[in-house]
């Protein structure tokens, strides 16, 4: 039983946390892709930017959350979302829109987004430095231990993890309702299906583009903040987040928000399972194994330092066998 609890703590919980983060990142990437038709590489840095804004606000008002009984960062999250959305729209107006107006190839947009990545990275690290910082300023992370009768090891959940699960569910359900019920959401889907037809039928495409950036910026801020709340704010995380997020978006089928969520959890769990040391689970049956099998101490599929191989492997496998993704995205 102890081993199962260990498995729960280190795989189920950790995998869900990573999955939630990747899912929200991948939804943003996939939405931008389906509306604007290019892979937005600056997404991970938009996450960092949003988190950084939240961190600054938290440092300014460290006790704002006490009244509500929530971490201050959560209270500051909406402000950070608004700010990041505005920045995202501003970046679009300043850099992407002129290129779109020139009708450049998508790959040029990709290079432009790499330029935006560097700008954001440089700007954030210029002010934040490169060290890790905790989002709990003047506060303590609450840790819940749930004891199960008959087992020595408790189930461990932290406050940010619970908040993360709740917020993810709310965000995903909200986004789904928005895309399927609201007028603007339907217009968004129409534009992702066929931009020319959408424009011809009187949809304000400019408004849709703006809306896409607002949603993507908001989701990026949520994902980045909750990730940093759980671990710490690391300004140089972006290239390591980028690959899993894109792998998730492609696995789910590019341009397919629900697929991106599934892909996010798939990649998140795959990563966690790959670095998990399986010999822990085999320990109870070690004595009953035949003597010629010698269990090594470390049965992890890849070491933690090679974690980034996992999303890459998934990406390659999907590109080889099913380039449209599991949910049949629109475009290869």
């Amino acid at each position: 039983m102890n081993e199962l609890i260990y498995f729960f703590n280190y795989v189920v919980v950790a995998g869900s946390v990573t999955g939630c983060i990747y899912a929200m990142g991948a939804v943003g990437v996939t939405l931008i892709y389906s509306i604007l038709r290019f892979a937005h590489f600056a997404h991970a840095d938009m996450m960092t930017l949003g988190t950084f804004v939240v961190l600054l606000l938290t440092m300014l008002f460290p006790h704002a959350g006490d009244a509500l009984g929530l971490p201050t960062a959560i209270v500051m999250l909406p402000i950070g979302m608004v700010f990041t959305s505005l920045v995202a729209v501003g970046i679009d107006r300043a850099f992407y829109q002129p290129l779109r107006a020139h009708k450049v190839k998508p790959i040029v947009m990709v290079i432009a987004s790499l330029g935006v990545t560097l700008m954001l990275q440089g700007l954030i690290r210029l002010f934040a430095g490169t060290g890790a910082q905790s989002l709990y300023v003047d506060a303590r992370k609450e840790i819940f231990r749930i004891d199960i009768p008959g087992v020595t090891r408790p189930i461990i959940l932290t406050e940010p993890q619970i908040i993360l699960f709740v917020v993810t569910i709310v965000a995903v359900v909200g986004l789904h309702l928005f895309l399927t019920r609201a007028r603007l959401g339907k217009a968004m889907r129409a534009m992702s299906d066929n931009p020319d037809l959408a424009r011809a039928s009187g949809i304000n495409t400019q408004l849709i583009v703006t809306l896409t950036w607002v949603i993507a910026g908001g989701l990026a801020t949520i994902a980045g903040t909750l990730l940093s709340l759980d671990v710490a704010f690391k300004p140089d995380l972006s290239f390591f987040l980028l690959l899993p997020i894109f792998a998730a978006a492609i696995v789910g089928g590019v341009g397919h928000p629900l697929g991106a969520i599934a892909g996010g959890f798939l990649v998140g769990f795959a990563e966690t399972l790959a670095v998990f040391n399986w010999s822990v689970l085999l320990r109870p049956i070690r004595d009953s194994l035949p003597s010629w099998i010698e269990l090594p101490n470390n049965l992890a599929i890849v070491g933690t330092e090679y974690k980034i191989v996992v999303p890459f492997f998934i990406l390659v496998a999907v590109l080889i066998w099913r380039p449209t993704g599991i949910f049949k995205g629109k475009v290869i």
């Binding site: 190839k105 790959i107 935006v116 390659v316």
Partner: protein, 453 residues
């Protein structure tokens, strides 16, 4: 770049808005009088003045070092210009290929570690390598079981299970051997062979990785290639950084031998000048070959595919084969350039390979100089590198000024100014990429697109 992409397709049939039209007008006289390349002369003259300025201000030894590094970067930039400029494939993982080339140069040239070769470790390592080959062979054989009528699902399951078990066995075996290597002899050392052999093999290694990546991605959307190259670069770096038994990891390897007399024998200036001679000869050879290839039927075919894939396919050109070729060629150049750069630096430090220095700087060189134009790429490489090197002290001075003001006005007191000054340069590089894409998409010395009316 984007303009040159659209040159061949819509321009003649549909009159596009003013921008394309003006571009057309600008092209026409340039082709009518090809005798006086005024733009090139002025730009290269200006570059020569800048370089001479560096020579007089910083001393010849420093300036020669800068030129050697710039010439190594020029090889990288030529690699990217054939991928991006000739064929429209964008490679965001130059860093990985550079690191691979650097590793190969290091591994071939540093002295042999006799302690390793006299122990039983080489034999054990050899057995592990054999086991890896055996596992691959078994998995491959299982995928071929359809010849005796095994159904597809069963085949897949068997292959996955066999692969997983084989992988776990081999990896735990490898871990024990590499652990012993690290504890007994530190690392496996080098081969003690001439440096240039390492450079060639570095190019070949990079080309091999490029072949695999290209094979997977080139038939798909161009964005996927960017993601995959970005990923492979990080993986190569992680591998080199964490394989202490192979590369000493973060402990770094130095000094690295040079293909020419080292500073210890003939002094800094002459040694660097010899090295510069080697790299310049390499560039000249590469430049000549690229020039011939560009104007050959093969080059025309490559550009036809870039500019209008559908019609090139309709003409019976094998698009994916050509893309594959060009991607591998570019990667080979990056491997060779990276090997030359690492040898010159004299230290192999896997953590020293940064996306900024080894990917995005090269990107700026190419798009600023003129993608698809070899001369423009060379110009861009030297210019951007000189600016990059010179901007270091400038950014630091600027940071001191800003923090002094910031401290006075807002009480902002950041530490570690060096790294922050570097970040300011990151910002400028990003802004530069966006500005070039927006205002000079064809670079300072644009590709000359021949028009036959």
């Amino acid at each position: 770049m984007n303009d040159s992409d659209s040159t061949s397709q819509p321009r003649r049939s549909t009159p596009q808005p003013s921008q394309n039209a003006s571009q057309h007008r600008r092209d026409a006289p340039a082709l009518a009088r090809p005798t006086l390349p005024l733009r090139e002369l002025v730009l290269f003259g200006g570059l020569a003045v800048i370089v001479l300025g560096v020579f007089s201000m910083m001393g010849p030894a420093y300036a020669t070092r800068m030129l050697v590094e710039a010439s190594c970067y020029a090889i990288l930039a030529l690699g990217l210009t054939i991928q991006w400029g000739y064929a429209g494939q964008f490679n965001a993982g130059i860093m990985g290929f550079v690191a691979l080339g650097g590793f190969s140069a290091t591994f071939f040239s540093i002295p042999v570690n006799h302690a390793f070769w006299q122990s039983d470790l080489p034999a054990r390592l050899g057995w592990v390598l054999l086991a890896i080959i055996a596992v691959v062979a078994i998995v491959f054989a299982i995928t071929r079981l359809d010849r005796i009528g095994v159904p597809k699902l069963l085949r897949t399951i068997l292959a996955v299970v066999a692969g997983l078990i084989g992988y776990l066995v081999v990896v735990s075996w490898l871990r024990s051997v590499t652990g012993d290597i690290e504890s007994q002899v530190e690392f496996i050392g080098g081969l003690g062979l001439p440096v240039w052999l390492g450079w060639i093999v570095g190019g070949a290694l990079a080309g091999g990785i490029g072949y695999v990546i290209g094979h997977i991605c080139l038939g798909l959307r161009s964005d996927y290639l960017v993601i995959a190259t970005l990923g492979i670069a990080e993986i190569i770096k992680a591998f080199l950084k964490n394989s202490d038994w192979l590369t000493r990891g973060t402990a770094t390897i130095s000094p690295l031998p040079w293909p020419v007399p080292t500073p210890g024998d003939v002094g800094f200036l002459s040694a660097r000048a010899f090295y510069l001679a080697v790299t310049v000869v390499m560039i000249a050879v590469i430049f000549f070959l690229l020039h011939r290839a560009y104007h050959a039927p093969w080059g025309r075919m490559i550009r036809a595919i870039r500019d209008n894939e559908v019609s090139a396919a309709a003409m019976g050109k094998s698009i994916n084969r050509r893309r594959q070729e060009i991607f591998v060629f570019g990667c080979i150049l990056m491997g060779v350039g990276g090997a030359a750069l690492t040898s010159f630096n004299g230290i192999f430090d896997p953590q020293g390979y940064l996306p900024l220095n080894h990917t995005f700087l090269v990107l700026v060189m190419v798009i600023l100089g003129g993608p698809g134009n070899n001369l423009g790429t060379l110009f861009g490489a030297v210019l951007v590198y000189v600016i990059w090197i010179m901007s270091g002290p400038l950014a630091l001075a600027l940071m001191h000024l800003v923090t002094a003001l910031g401290g006075d006005w807002f009480g902002w007191q950041p530490g570690n100014l060096d790294s922050r000054a570097l970040q300011a340069r990151v910002f400028v590089i990003g802004l530069l990429i966006l500005m070039v894409l927006r205002f000079a998409p064809r670079g300072l010395i644009p590709e000359k697109v021949a028009q036959h009316d």
